[in-house]
């Protein structure tokens, strides 16, 4: 009976990927909930660490400033569990603030963030308007399953003033896509089991839905163990020694 069939025996009994969406009071969660449902995921909101036990994939959404977000995450004792999740090589998608929080610090308010990726979050330079609000393109540096079936010139919806600046060789290697608004900034990252997008796929129409469907497929494979070839983030630390 060892046919790998346990993939279909998920804890919810539906065969759908259980996606924990961290709820820390950082804005609209209805869209991401609905979008994940639309692509065949089984999302649920997590406010406390023990609720993560049910999860097979983790999405950290959010908009706004880093310091209040970190303090809300800390108050709910979620920071360390999220870090552990990532270090154990489990699938993670950070959206907007959920990407920025992966870095070490934020220039916005000096907040110390999760420190998963070497680098910091800083203000977009030379931008004609800030916040950067609206639809813009993501220039991909390389192929990744996250963008499968999405046209090269597809637009995604952004709403932010700050963006992550990866540092070092591993930081540079993590860059998956860049976007131009004044200067170029990093709009998508990929580091093994950790994905992050600066735009909002849940608000980016058909292409955004496609991207989330790709995430669910990718995370399902990773959660099922076929992602063994992925080097978990924990192995390389936070990019030290670059």
């Amino acid at each position: 009976m060892k046919d790998g069939g346990w993939i279909h025996q998920r804890s919810n009994g539906t065969g759908k990927l259980r996606v924990a969406v961290i709820d820390y009071g950082a804005g609209n969660l209805v869209s991401i909930d609905q979008a994940l449902k639309a692509v065949g995921g089984d999302p649920f909101f997590v406010r406390e660490a023990d609720e993560l036990e049910q999860a097979e994939a983790l999405v950290v959404p959010g908009v706004g400033a880093a310091a209040p977000a970190m303090s809300r995450l800390e108050r709910r004792r979620l920071v360390e569990p999220i870090r552990q999740w990532i270090f154990h090589g489990r699938p993670y998608l950070g959206i907007c603030l959920g990407l920025q929080l992966l870095f070490e610090t934020s220039d916005e308010d000096g907040a110390e963030t999760m420190g998963i990726l070497a680098g910091r979050t800083s203000r977009i330079e030379d931008a004609p308007t800030l916040p950067h609000i609206g639809w813009n393109q993501v220039e991909r540096r390389r192929r990744h399953a996250l963008f499968d079936g999405i046209a090269e010139n597809a637009d995604f919806y952004f709403v932010h003033s700050y963006a992550g600046v990866p540092e070092g060789i591993t930081g540079d290697a993590a860059i998956l896509g860049e976007t131009t608004h004044g200067c170029r900034f990093v709009s998508a990252i990929d580091r093994g089991n950790v994905l992050g997008v600066q735009f909002h796929p849940e608000r980016s129409g058909a292409d955004g839905i496609r991207l989330l469907a790709n995430f669910v497929r990718w995370a399902t494979a990773l959660a099922a163990g076929s992602g063994a070839q992925f080097a978990p983030m924990g192995a390389g630390g936070t990019g030290g020694g670059d």
Binding site: V63, G64, T129, L130, G134, H200, E202
Partner: protein, 259 residues
Amino acid sequence: MLRRRVIPCLDVADGRVVKGRRFVDLVDEGDPAEMAARYAGEGADELVFLDITAAPERRGTLLDAVERTARRAFIPLTVGGGVRSVTEMRDVLRAGADKVSLNTAAVAEPTLISRCAARFGRQAVVVSIDARASSAGVEPRFEVVVKGGREPTSLDAIEWAERAVDLGAGELLVTSIDRDGTQSGFDVALLRAISARVNVPVIASGGAGGPADFVAAVMDGGADAVLAASIFHREQVSIEAVKAAMAAAGLPVRLARAA
């Protein structure tokens, strides 16, 4: 390159889309979520709901409409009309809005802008400015009006725009009350005066009649986005036609792909 946005605006009363002269002779036009999904399919880059529900106790129907819309249309939604506190803004965001626009309450209590921005980030705070030309002169002057355009404030619209941005507005929705409903084109002078003084995105509103008006609001007025209501609802002009005109004028627009 950042696209110039085309935004349909829906007036919502008691959870239904209504048509009429502002606040009077309202005619039921349909379900907000239905119409939002239709506009999203037609290439709308974003949506604005303007809640004109008269009775505060009926606000629950707005939140329900916002949530149903967020579950139908995967494009950004801004909700305005009657938001007076951080708590009310939180409720609207939790229901599924991405941004909230503040108008009369922000004029009465400007710190509302900074409090909302501190709590939710400035990108979620749109300050809506209704303005009308106030006097003839070498330099055009514009006065802020509130309560749906009925009450003058003696505030200078350009100064108020700058102050709102200083306080934390992440975007300005600028409506010419003189042009609203006239279909005689956006007030380009008003837009230019404001967009030249602030670096946040400016959404042009009031006066759209045809595709060329949208082009002028961006090219001459410096607007980042253009908003209209009735001409879209009456199917007088399509979003596609507006975008085609903008593209022909060399403006970057998002050409939507079918879902």
